[in-house]
Amino acid sequence: MNKFGYSVAQPRVIDYESNDRSLSEYLNALEPSFRRCIECGGCSATCTAAAYTSFSLRELHVLIRRGESRKIQSALKKCMLCGKCTLVCPRGVNTRNVITLARNFKVSLNNAV
């Protein structure tokens, strides 16, 4: 704790004005099925990685759409690309491709820096 004994808490509102939604736009362009997600959570329910870690593909979708990209970087590493989520998705979202593209987007961003 700092010398004042308290700190500034980050607001819990979703600030669409300042959030960077470039990853969401990138995925919409390269994997149009990404738009079809209804956040039912079928992917997370069948996910093997989610059984052992705090990984949730449904949460990842929500964060990407909101542009809260700070939280997704570490989550992307947890997916094993087994593809069970793609099999159960009722909307036919190519979830495995979403993860792969998101990882590549991160790489391309890092390369750009």
Partner: protein, 354 residues
């Protein structure tokens, strides 16, 4: 399309009656410490500039509002304390109350409203006061916050103005954030000019004196004070976080200054800028500077050509030099911390915008 007559009629519902003369003045606890020039200048403004009768009673005490909002002082006690103030006013022969503090103003209105709806409470309070002090009191005919009073005389002040709220370098009106204390009109909207929806008390002054009011997303957000958030050290992050949220919202509009009518708001918006800078290294003004926060008396004093150091601007955490330069006010830096007889006082540490 609404007709102008209709607009005027609706707007008339948002006005409040403000007495013109003969005020019984009650001071704030914290303003005398943090903005010592403000209340003194209000008295000078009323008595010497506008020629009004303002009476101050040395027997007046705190309203105990801070204790009341902290759940330390019970409602019956605070009602009796306030009844004693009304008794002092009756003994001095005054009927118009002028309240310096927004917390006190909120309490006076809350207590008067309570007595109106629960007359038994009024009778109990009369009994408590009489048993404790032998005093009797009348309900004031008019209760106004001192910002209401300055608002009602804003055009007379503008007519006597030495400077306008205009950037002397660019010729543009100064961009000013106005901040109304929550207890001024959010609890009892009819007690404030413009109600809770369109508070006009400070924006009216800014308009009359030549400035430009900034409308930003979190304009009506609390300053962050909130008695309970602040009083426990571990909870002060709630207070600071609210202030930072408000300042982040106003920052893109590049305000030249903030005008407030509540002692708590003025103090916290001033001092939290120092804390935010120390903790996170963030500032909210232009070029890494912080935004000066002034009281309406201090702003009226500047407009009337008063010396900024006589108004007490040097006692704020965020110093006003950038604002004074924009206004074209000549300042003598060596007089900043001198007493009236020319003695040098200690210079405060860690000031911002120096």
């Amino acid at each position: 399309m609404m007709k102008n007559e209709g607009k005027k009629r609706i707007w008339s519902d948002y006005q409040k009656e403000i007495a013109d003369d003969h005020f019984f003045y009650v001071r704030s606890c914290i303003r005398q410490s943090f903005f010592p020039g403000s209340e003194q200048f209000f008295l000078n403004l009323m008595r010497k500039v506008l020629g009004k009768d303002v009476y101050e009673d040395p027997a007046h005490t705190t309203c105990t509002g801070i204790g009341y909002h902290s759940d330390i002082v019970p409602a019956a006690t605070i009602m009796t304390v306030v009844a004693r103030h009304f008794a002092l006013m009756k003994e001095a022969g005054y009927k118009n109350l002028a309240v310096s503090c927004v917390t006190s103003f909120g309490l006076y209105t809350e207590i008067l409203e309570t007595w109106k709806h629960f007359p038994a409470e009024l009778e109990k309070t009369r009994e408590y006061l009489f048993k404790a002090t032998g005093r009797e009191f009348d309900i004031p005919e008019n209760v106004a916050h001192t910002s209401d009073i300055v608002y009602s005389f804003r055009d007379q002040i503008a007519a006597k103005a030495k400077i306008k709220l205009v950037n002397s370098i660019t010729g543009e009106p100064l961009k000013i954030v106005e901040h109304i204390g929550c207890h001024y009109s959010k609890m009892f909207p009819k007690s404030g000019i413009g109600g809770a929806e369109f508070p006009h008390v400070l924006s009216g002054m800014i308009d009359a004196w030549g400035g430009e009011v900034i409308d930003y997303p979190e304009r009506r957000h609390c300053c962050g004070f909130g008695f309970r958030q602040y009083l426990v050290q571990a909870n002060r992050g709630y207070s600071l976080s609210n202030t930072v949220k408000k300042f982040n919202s106003m920052k893109p509009y590049k305000p030249d200054m903030i005008l407030a009518n509540c002692p708590g708001c003025t103090m916290f918006m001033d001092k939290w800028q120092y804390t935010a800078k120390e903790l996170e290294g963030i500032t909210f003004g232009e070029k890494g500077e912080s935004i000066p926060v002034l009281t309406y008396e201090e702003l009226a004093g500047l407009v009337l050509g008063m010396n900024p150091w006589d108004l007490g601007l040097q006692y704020h955490m965020v110093q006003s030099e950038p604002l004074l330069r924009k206004l074209g006010v000549e300042i003598n830096a060596s007089d900043k911390y001198k007493t009236k007889d020319g003695k040098q006082m200690p210079v405060p540490q860690n000031l911002i915008n120096v």
